[in-house]
């Protein structure tokens, strides 16, 4: 049990890291998107490893199947050539700031995890789908609904931006 899990972890980790570097480092935007897809798939693999197949499949269904396809659509409309202005290598200060920004979430989360380590299970617990739904709709109904409000606001914002453009 132990060794395959570690091997799988290493594989997903590799997929995520390589995907990340491809996503931020490629000159071609479509290749960067492929890197993003790889990262999302690696994260889905991590969910599988945590014994949360529902999360893993949802991750693939929503992020890979829908969001990445929509990003691709936007790229296609924008004519994303590999030799555009943005494709030049970034100046060193900007790279430094980028790395700093990327490390910020880790720096914020690591102390919390180190101070309050969660109980580690040898085998991750199996959560039935019905339980997940019940918890979402009963205990966590407020955060769940707030997320939908955030999505609604962002959609309304997107529509608003487009309308303003059209007036000009």
């Amino acid at each position: 049990m132990e060794t395959p899990a570690i091997l799988a972890f290493g594989f997903y980790f590799l997929v995520i890291v390589v995907g990340c570097f491809m996503a931020v480092g490629s000159a071609s935007l479509v290749r960067a998107l492929v890197g993003l897809v790889a990262t999302l798939l690696g994260v889905a693999g991590m969910y599988l490893l945590l014994n949360a197949p529902f999360m893993a499949f949802m991750q693939i269904l929503i992020y890979v199947g829908a969001i990445c396809v929509l990003i691709f659509f936007a790229l296609m409309l924008a004519r994303a050539d590999a030799d555009g202005d943005e494709a030049d290598p970034a100046p060193a200060p900007r790279v430094f700031k980028g790395v700093l920004a990327a490390m910020l979430p880790g720096a914020l989360l690591a102390p919390i995890l180190l101070l309050h380590p969660t109980a580690s299970h040898l085998l991750p617990p199996d959560v039935p789908l019905a339980d997940l739904g019940r918890r979402l709709m009963e205990d966590y109904v407020l955060p769940f609904e707030l997320i939908s409000v955030v999505l609604l606001i962002s959609m309304a914002g997107a529509v608003l931006l487009v309308w303003e453009r059209r007036d000009k």
């Binding site: 049990m1 395959p4 899990a5 799988a8 071609s28 479509v30 290749r31 492929v34 897809v37 014994n51 197949p53 529902f54 499949f57 949802m58 693939i60 269904l61 890979v64 199947g65 829908a66 990445c68 396809v69 929509l70 691709f72 659509f73 296609m76 085998l123 991750p124 199996d126 789908l129």
Partner: protein, 324 residues
């Protein structure tokens, strides 16, 4: 799903995948031949006739030709994306066959989220079309890819709504339990309770698998071959196999959700499942040679004005009845 990754279960899945690959390959040959014969008969001509008796070896000859042909990449096409696309189109499709219950005993991997697994990995097909269209540095390819996005994003929604209606009704996402709750007689199948969902599912499945009359991404009369214009040999062959494999999956899911899966009036078993799947496949071929290709605005209007509202209403009605 079980958390333990034992050697046996891995071996089981690997064997199932090999079996699925053989099944897909043989069915590719069979369906190409069937499609050309059906097309021939509908258009009052014999179809393939020369290679073997009744042209039965035509598909084998075509397959050998495809395997033998040189793989050509257009100048200035992105090599990574160009070669990744056919692989990405074909291999995820094999996974889709794993949770399908061919018979009570014959299931590759009886996972309790089978329906979700199929829906999730089916999304890779669109991604592959996009990469192919973009990566081949060809205007027809790009136009085909642009159409593929709009179409598949649109048709995925009514498809999910129709599937969700059945999932609501059955309270499970496991394909084998969905079959188990249906009776043996045709009026005990889900199609009798959910005829509207069946219709929506069938139309959206045609849209999702890019089959005529919704084959706009490859529209040969306008776009040469759309997203796969630049592919030769097995590059094209893999897209082709993936398309047929996707058709089989769509028909199988339809059979499981609405037509009682492997159950029949007598002698339950895999033959009922296969008979229903092939009947649906035949209907899909029949549609292709009967209806003309729709225009793009017709395609999207049908989806957003009819299928989507009807799907939502059907889902609400299902939820209402379930609550009573």
């Amino acid at each position: 799903m079980n958390a333990t990754i034992s050697f046996d279960s891995v071996l089981h899945v690997v064997l199932a995948l090999v079996g699925v690959a053989v099944f897909v390959g043989l069915n590719g040959l069979l369906l190409v031949y069937a499609e050309r014969k059906v097309a021939g008969f509908i258009q009052r001509r014999p179809g393939p006739y020369e290679v073997g008796p009744q042209g039965i070896l035509q598909a084998v000859a075509d397959a050998l030709k495809l395997i033998g042909k040189q793989l050509v990449r257009p100048d200035r096409a992105d090599p990574l994306l160009f070669w990744m696309a056919p692989v990405l189109a074909f291999f995820p499709v094999l996974l889709l066959f794993l949770p399908l219950p061919f018979s009570p005993l014959l299931t590759g991997w009886d996972v309790n989220l089978g329906l979700l697994l199929i829906l999730a990995f089916a999304g890779f097909n669109v991604l592959a079309l996009l990469l192919a269209g973009w990566g081949s540095n060809n205007k027809y390819g790009l136009l085909g890819a642009a159409r593929a996005v709009a179409q598949s994003v649109a048709y995925e929604i009514p498809l999910l709504l129709a599937v969700l209606a059945i999932a609501f009704q059955e309270g499970t996402l496991s394909l084998s339990s969905i079959v188990a709750t249906q009776g043996s007689m045709p009026w005990q199948w889900n199609i009798a309770v959910q005829p509207l969902a069946f219709l929506i599912f069938l139309i959206s499945a045609l849209g999702e698998t890019n089959r005529a009359p919704f084959d706009l991404p490859e529209a040969e009369s306008e776009l040469t071959a759309g997203f796969h214009t630049e592919y030769s040999g097995m590059g094209f062959g893999m897209f082709f196999l993936a398309e047929y494999a996707n058709m089989i999956v769509a028909c199988s899911v339809c059979t499981v959700l609405f037509l009682g899966g492997w159950k029949g009036p007598f002698l339950d078993g895999a033959w009922w499942f296969l008979a229903k799947v092939y009947a649906l496949l035949l209907a899909m071929m029949w549609f292709r040679w009967t209806f003309p290709r729709v225009r793009f605005d017709q395609l999207l209007n049908l989806n957003w004005r009819w299928l989507l509202p009807l799907g939502v209403l059907n889902l609400l009605a299902t939820a209402f009845v379930m609550k009573l």
